[in-house]
């Protein structure tokens, strides 16, 4: 069974934040006001940030300092806490290993935002807004599953949204293959962040296929997960620096 997975090589990542903005443009996440940004209400499903997350004495003292940067999409956990706590089954793991969100079902209780060990679930505090003409560039794609919206069309206020590994791109790629009367190949689909990565640090593919790049990379000695001990069995892989 296909098991979509992303691998991020932190040594090749140059913290350019291209992934953050590619994600925004693909998935129609709005810019929030500077005031709300200060409250941590930014809507970037994939964020880039310095490590350690909290400033502390472990930064080192000049000149013995080494800053680190990381980038964080959804981990698409195999034992996803967000799926477990959702009281209305708005969030679910699909049969290809992608943790998705049904925006019609979501009641905005935010259990999942609390349960997620990685902080990659984002609550729509406000009606998403694009000032004046900025709304023109929004991605017109709309994934509807059994009448329920799954993005990237704009989500309503009061729901929780998240990285979907750009699942609408997967559906589009499959449809394209169907139109062309051929089989879908797994390399026809990558999420927007993988496509744009300036350092070619991101890889995407089927973890279930032993020959895929991500399967090969998952065997690397540098391969690791974020918070391995969270119990969530995160899937998105990192290749550590060094």
């Amino acid at each position: 069974m296909t098991d979509w997975c992303m691998v991020i090589d932190l040594e090749k990542c140059v913290a350019c934040q291209g992934c953050s903005i590619a994600c925004r443009m693909e998935n129609n996440t709005p810019v929030v006001s500077p005031e709300e940004a200060k409250n941590g209400r930014e809507m970037r499903w994939n964020d880039v940030f310095p490590l350690p997350v909290h400033l502390g004495p472990d930064q080192g003292e000049y000149p013995n300092v080494k800053m680190h940067y990381s980038t964080r999409p959804c981990m698409h956990c195999k034992n996803a806490p967000c799926v477990k706590v959702c009281p209305v089954q708005a969030t679910f793991t699909d049969e290809e290993g992608i943790v998705r969100q049904n925006y019609n079902r979501c009641i905005g209780c935010r259990f999942c935002t609390v349960a997620c060990p990685y902080g990659v679930r984002y609550f729509n505090w406000f009606e998403p807004q694009w000032e004046e003409t900025l709304a023109e560039y929004r991605n017109p794609d709309q994934l509807v599953v059994k009448g329920s919206l799954e993005g990237p069309a704009v989500r309503p206020v009061g729901v929780v949204e998240k990285c979907t590994y750009c699942v609408h791109r997967l559906v589009k790629a499959r449809e394209q293959a169907k139109v062309e009367g051929r089989d879908f190949r797994p390399d026809e689909y990558v999420p927007a962040c993988v496509q744009t990565c300036t350092g070619k640090a991101r890889f995407f593919g089927d973890l279930d296929d032993p020959d895929s790049t991500v399967s090969q990379l998952s065997k690397s000695l540098r391969a690791t997960h974020l918070l391995e001990d969270s119990g969530a069995h995160p899937k998105t892989l990192y290749l550590a620096e060094g």
């Binding site: 903005i21 500077p34 310095p50 998705r100 900025l134 794609d141 599953v145 927007a192």
Partner: protein, 784 residues
């Protein structure tokens, strides 16, 4: 009326649903990505190849146009610079295109009231052509001046040709703010006036002297591609060492970060040269047979060569005192550099070299000479010489007597006269005008000097003395606000244009084409000048016989090897594979070493003793040199050496050096500051957004009693500003940093009023020999 759901009831409902395995199974069936998924999308969709114009890299883009709207940019996989990748600026480009603060029509501004009124393009064309014809009739066409920013393709030669047809030599590039120092370093040694290209993919050892490879160097995406390939894209990874007072992202990603006392990079490079020479690690063939001035020369050896000069003056022990880097480290770096080839030493494209003295150019020379010592000039894994696509020559300029007379005058910015070695001195245009230089018409293309130069506010006074100022900006930026005519150009996604692909050595062209119809009543500045030429008549009209700027491009790019339709489809055309010239060959002499020297012989010798510089400084006496800020005399002044930076501001009173840092997000262009997503991610490294900040070493802050986010006053001899302080452990204790491109007072709603502009309090002086701006020689004091 329904009873409100209590928390307890709510949890019960949730529990029941989640507990039901059957229900969950049913739900899963419903929601697989394969079955029952309907994707609705635009009814009409196309993908157009073009080029990004948000920084100097010029990445290829593929724009998704859905129902006539540009909704998404992707990197063009065919383009050799970005190879399908795209940085956040490029990704956010639709925010530029659909920006609510764009100018929508040509405007006329009343100087007294400041009010703007829309005009027609015809009126604009008439006004400009009458003005220029008036200048020509008065016999002073040279009083028309054009200042431009990053124009890399045909636009630069097109603008120059227009100004020359009118009769003005004054087409002034912004390069004195950024790459000119590096270009001069290359020119005075290798004899080519251009940025070197580095073969990072094949290098084994890379040492960067403050070159910001991964954020905002002279060609960021090119160096990112090369860097990541070198690190993890091939079987053996190369080592990267970064010399920088600040732990930039580049430095934090490198194997080794070596903090250095700011402005002493030349000493370090020469210290390394000292060890390389002493240890016998030089490429003997190259320095003996293809370099000038390694050994002492002239008949009896009475002129000092590079070797003896470096051996006498740059022992690592002495260099340690200058740079603050342990002599053992210097010796180790030298050994690693010379012993682990192919190795390449990279000079910064901007920033560090611009320290207000000629020492910045000496630094560029010294760093580039390291490459020569180990034979990395024009060799695999070393330095390549950028080649360009052959473009069809413009027809001969039909200049009349007026134009010829105008062209014979000295340039208004002092390049070639006041600044004998300079080619452009962008920021000094204001000073020249204020000192009384006659400028009757000033055009600003892709230029916002009132914001982007040190002490840029003086441009307001300068513009007040110019009777006719025209801005072609798409946004009402700080300089456009002072102009008489504001003639908005469409954004790069709506117009024709091209770029020479740089950074890979081999030649290529990247095309800009309108991906959608222009949104507003704007006009490509190329088209505008064609119409002005037509309206002016005479020789100017004859020099511009094209109907549109697109036709100009078609004419110039006829011989690149791809026809116009193919170029439009692919967006890019290049001749891949850099072929290294054999040392001393004809190809070498014509393209690689010495071919652009204006005074010294074009004999294919790499100058370790710069004969070109000797033409300028050779005859000067000690006191004349001292006036230029050069402490050495005789051969010492010609050979690259370390000159202590002459700081503005006394060290006791102003203890910190202020460094303005360009970020990956906000980038080098003013209009990018008005892209809200760029504001939102701007200060990622210091956890700050939508604002400016001051980076400071925690120890230094502690001594001043400052903690994170304290508001501080930053004062230099040139002014004072106020912002918040951020503690950054990876920063030299005597250096403070501020981000570039914040603190706009105009441009648009997202850029305006976000913090302060650090450039305001920098030294506005220009370097006396070259006309370079001063970016890193201002001291500041920081108080609560």
């Amino acid at each position: 009326m329904t009873k409100p759901l209590s928390r307890r009831d709510f949890l019960k409902v949730g529990g029941v649903a989640a507990g039901s395995a059957a229900a969950l199974g049913a739900l899963k069936n419903v929601m697989s990505a394969k079955a029952d998924s309907v994707i609705k999308t635009a009814s009409e969709e196309k993908f157009v190849a073009s080029t990004c114009h948000l920084c100097s890299a010029g990445c290829g883009i593929i724009v998704r146009v859905a129902d006539g709207k540009a909704v998404k940019l992707e990197g063009n996989p065919m383009h050799p610079v970005n190879q399908g990748a795209l940085c956040p600026k490029g990704q956010a480009a639709p925010e530029l295109l659909y920006n609510p603060d764009r100018l929508t029509s040509p405007l006329k501004r009343d100087r007294v009231t400041g009010a703007t009124t829309p005009i027609t393009w015809d009126e604009a064309i008439q006004t400009v052509s009458q003005k220029l014809n008036g200048l020509r009739e008065a016999g002073h066409p040279e009083q028309a001046v054009l200042m431009h920013g990053d124009t890399r393709g045909q636009m630069r030669s097109f603008l120059t040709r227009f100004m020359e047809a009118v009769g003005s030599p004054n087409t002034i590039s912004h390069e004195s703010l950024n790459v000119a120092a590096a270009k001069l370093g290359m020119y005075l040694t290798q004899g080519i006036y251009g940025l070197p290209a580095y073969d990072l993919e094949n290098a084994n050892y890379v040492i960067s002297f403050g070159a910001n490879l991964l954020e905002a160097g002279s060609n960021p995406q090119r160096t990112i591609s090369g860097y990541t390939f070198l690190r993890r894209g091939r079987a053996t990874r190369g080592k990267v060492v970064v010399i920088d007072p600040r732990q930039s992202i580049t430095a934090s990603k490198a194997d080794e970060w070596i903090p250095i006392k700011p402005g002493t990079d030349a000493a370090l490079a020469l210290g390394m040269a000292n060890v390389i020479i002493k240890s016998g690690l030089v490429d003997a063939d190259f320095v003996k047979n293809y370099c000038f001035g390694f050994d002492n020369f002239a008949s009896g050896g009475e002129r000092k060569g590079f070797r003896d000069f470096v051996l006498e003056n740059y022992d690592p022990i002495r260099v340690e005192q200058m740079t603050g880097i342990p002599s053992t480290t210097i010796a180790r770096l030298a050994g690693e550099f010379a012993g682990n080839g192919p190795a390449v030493a990279i000079m910064p494209g901007k920033g560090g070299l611009l320290n207000g003295g000629f020492s910045g150019v000496y630094t560029a020379m010294a760093v580039h000479m390291l490459n020569a010592l180990v034979g990395s000039i024009e060799s695999k894994g070393g330095v390549m010489t950028q080649r360009y696509m052959p473009c069809v020559d413009y027809p001969k300029l039909p200049s009349d007597a007026v134009a010829k007379k105008g062209l014979a005058t000295a340039r208004i910015d002092g390049a070639g006269s006041k600044f004998p070695l300079g080619r452009n001195s962008y920021q000094s245009v204001a000073d020249q005008i204020l000192e009384g230089a006659p400028v009757e018409a000033l055009f600003l293309y892709d230029a916002n000097p009132a914001f982007e130069t040190p002490g840029g506010k003086r441009f307001a006074d300068a513009f007040a003395k110019v009777p006719f100022v025209v801005s072609f900006s798409s946004f009402m930026d700080e300089s456009a606000e002072l102009a008489d005519l504001i003639l908005p150009e469409p954004t790069f996604l709506e117009r024709w244009g091209d770029d020479h692909i740089e950074g890979l050595g081999y030649p290529g062209i990247s095309l800009y084409q309108p991906v959608i119809e222009p949104l507003y009543d704007t006009m490509n500045t190329g088209d505008f000048f064609l119409k002005v030429a037509e309206s002016m008549g005479g020789t100017v009209a004859k020099a511009f016989a094209w109907k549109s700027y697109e036709e100009v491009l078609q004419f110039r790019l006829k011989d690149i090897g791809a026809d116009w339709e193919l170029l439009k489809e692919l967006g890019v055309w290049f001749n891949p594979g850099y072929r290294f010239a054999k040392r001393g060959s004809q190809h070498w002499i014509e393209n690689v070493v010495g071919s652009e020297r204006l005074n010294a012989p074009r004999d294919g010798y790499f100058d370790l003793y710069s004969r070109e510089l000797n033409c300028f400084l050779g005859e000067m006496k000690k006191d004349e040199l001292a006036k230029l800020g050069i402490s050495q005399s005789g051969d010492g002044a010609i050979l690259p050496h370390y000159e202590a930076t002459v700081f503005q501001g006394d060290e006791a009173q102003y203890p910190f050096m202020l460094n303005i840092v360009t970020l990956m997000s906000l980038g080098p262009r003013s209009d990018a500051a008005n892209m809200p997503s760029m504001q939102e991610i701007s200060g990622m490294t210091v956890r700050e957004t939508w604002d400016s900040w001051l980076e400071m070493n925690p120890e230094s802050a502690h001594k001043l009693g400052l903690v994170e986010n304290d508001r501080v006053k930053i004062e230099s001899p040139f002014g004072a500003i106020s912002t918040k302080v951020k503690l950054v452990a990876g920063l030299h204790p005597d250096v403070v940093n501020m981000p570039f491109n914040q603190g706009h007072t105009a441009v648009g709603r997202f850029a305006k009023g976000r913090g302060v502009n650090g450039l305001e309090i920098l030294n506005p002086a220009s370097e006396p020999l070259t006309g370079l701006a001063s970016f890193t020689n201002t001291r500041v004091k920081v108080t609560k």
